[in-house]
Subunit: 346 residues, 2 copies
């Protein structure tokens, strides 16, 4: 095999079609096992299919598990990656590092057990066991084969002191606490009131802990009902707890104001549409709103802030911040409150 194309850290050298696309947008990737110098090959142990993708496939095939397996095999064989053509989504994988190219910048060693933190939608993948070990009954897919990491891919070594499931559920949301910490630190010279909407969830509880560590002076946790308020209260992560519907701008603003807000930073961690106006109204002038919810509407945020004459900085929650997995795992280890809220979500 001659490697005639130079590799690109974002993986465009493995895009077969359409030409010029990024790997995530590509119809088909080159998943051959031979490495370009900056790549890493993983021996796959398990895929975690994205929940939306698994649901679509399972509903389509009903009780016919052979047909379900056959479709997943067909997608991977055809596309060179596991990207559900209907939902567009992928998932992530766990495996062991099998070979590291001489110029890989990822810092991985042969034998490391890792989870990929970039999506399966852009990860070259080959399955070699016909999915015989998977019963098709859930999104966890034990399997064998190989996957490729590019120069700019992200993978985290699974920590020895935590159960794999626990580490994965922390790493799944690790972008939120990392970006929250960075933004709160910008305000932490003075008074830094931070509001987390969806505070009892996984990304919310980690964001509260990250804000505290970054110097927040008062933490307001917003939850939708009393059961979550009780769990959040028991965790000790928030200074004030507000029960409010995040889709009700006036109710949210009033609740946050009663709790000592509006704050300098508002972190939106609830995956329901229609929270933009309330988050903007619950943030003081000169403050920052970080939207982590994939249900966020760009135009609702932009037009909402303009309509409210709100001088707030609005951030698209980028899931990648250098060191994000380690930061989140450290918060999980050091905070009994975070661990308790994660346990209650199982």
């Amino acid at each position: 095999m001659g490697v005639l194309v130079e590799s690109d850290p974002v993986g465009t050298h493995r895009v077969l079609e359409p030409r010029g696309a990024l790997p995530q947008a590509a119809a088909r990737l080159d998943a051959r096992p031979e490495l370009w110098p900056d790549e890493v090959r993983i021996r796959v142990e398990r895929l975690n299919l994205d929940a939306a993708s698994y649901r679509q496939l399972a509903e389509k095939h009903g009780e016919d598990r052979d047909a379900l397996r056959a479709e997943v095999l067909d997608i991977v064989a055809t596309r060179g990656k596991m990207q559900n053509p209907v939902t567009g989504s992928g998932g992530m994988l766990i495996g062991v590092v099998e070979e590291v190219g001489p110029s890989s910048p990822l810092g991985l060693s042969v034998g490391d057990r890792v989870a990929t933190l970039v999506s399966l939608t852009l990860t070259p993948l080959v399955i070699t066991d016909g999915l015989t070990a998977w019963d098709g009954a859930g999104e966890q897919v034990p399997t064998a084969g190989h996957a490729i990491l590019f120069g700019r891919s992200i993978a985290a070594v699974l920590p020895a002191d935590l159960a794999t499931e626990d580490a994965l559920s922390v790493m799944d949301v690790c972008g939120a606490p990392a970006l929250t910490a960075r933004v709160v630190a910008q305000y932490a010279e003075g008074d830094a009131v931070v509001t987390v909407i969806g505070a009892a969830g996984k990304s919310g509880s980690l964001s509260l802990a990250a804000a505290r560590a970054a110097g927040a002076t008062r933490l307001i946790g917003v939850v939708p009902h009393e059961a979550e308020a009780a769990a959040l209260r028991a965790s000790g992560l928030a200074d004030e707890i507000v029960v409010a519907d995040a889709r009700d701008p006036q109710g949210l603003r009033a609740g946050v104001a009663m709790a000592g807000g509006p704050g300098q930073v508002t972190v939106v961690c609830v995956d329901v549409p229609g929270c933009e106006g309330g988050a903007i109204l619950a943030t003081r002038a000169g403050g920052t709103v970080i939207f982590f919810s994939m249900a966020t509407s760009f135009s609702a945020a932009a037009l909402g802030a303009e309509g409210l004459a709100a001088d707030v900085t609005m951030l698209v929650g980028n899931g990648y911040v250098p060191g994000h997995a380690d930061l989140a795992l450290d918060l999980y280890r050091s905070s009994p409150g975070v661990r308790a809220l994660f346990a209650s979500r199982r």
Copy 2:
């Protein structure tokens, strides 16, 4: 008339239904002329309907201009504001300040000729002339009636030294240069390379001028074809000009790199979908992407940056920054290049 409800700076006191909604999301507003203490009443001279709204109405009614007028009158009478129920959009208006409430914070005086910079979708409005002065042939609607500004509304006094049309087209995009200036200033202590995508357009040319004034050390203007490149070159606003399709991530990255990028700040001013990946790739680590295009997809930006392991800050382009109209008008006055590009867009 007894005013029993206290006013709210964002105007919720004039929402008739549904209760609890913000004025933009409301089905119906109270448009009575009597003012709450922090409000301002405008004597309306002209509505500028949003282009998408006018197009929908004009296509629906074809040559029947009476029906078109009747529908606009019906919308305003029913909703208490001009918000097209199909497109959801509004527009803005021009008028003269008729009364200023004693605690209005807007700084307006009776007799000021102003343009509203908040959308008609949240502005209480009454039309009193039956739209008899409007021929229905365009989105400019000469009319008579009144409109209400809230405590937090935004209106700009029309400058005496500029034609109304020119001032309006500058104010229409004034959020972009203001936010660009603020972000570039954060980088301007060192090297500050700024890339503007859609650089020959209205918001793009003002953003270039704003970046220059804020201390950018090199300005890269991206345009889609040679005709715009020639116009941008003649304007003198950019140091380097790149002809590239913003939807082609690799082409955009390569072009910007040849021009001295990737830069610290990338400003997206083109209203076409699919520009997120290219904008992220064309920005260096630690940099900021500002999305002003309403065609931006929140999830494409968030997942794209994660998939590219790109440590970039991504901002939702908030159309409101204090002082934005004055800043944009000053840039327009002082920059012959900006004026030339605006003139070429008529």
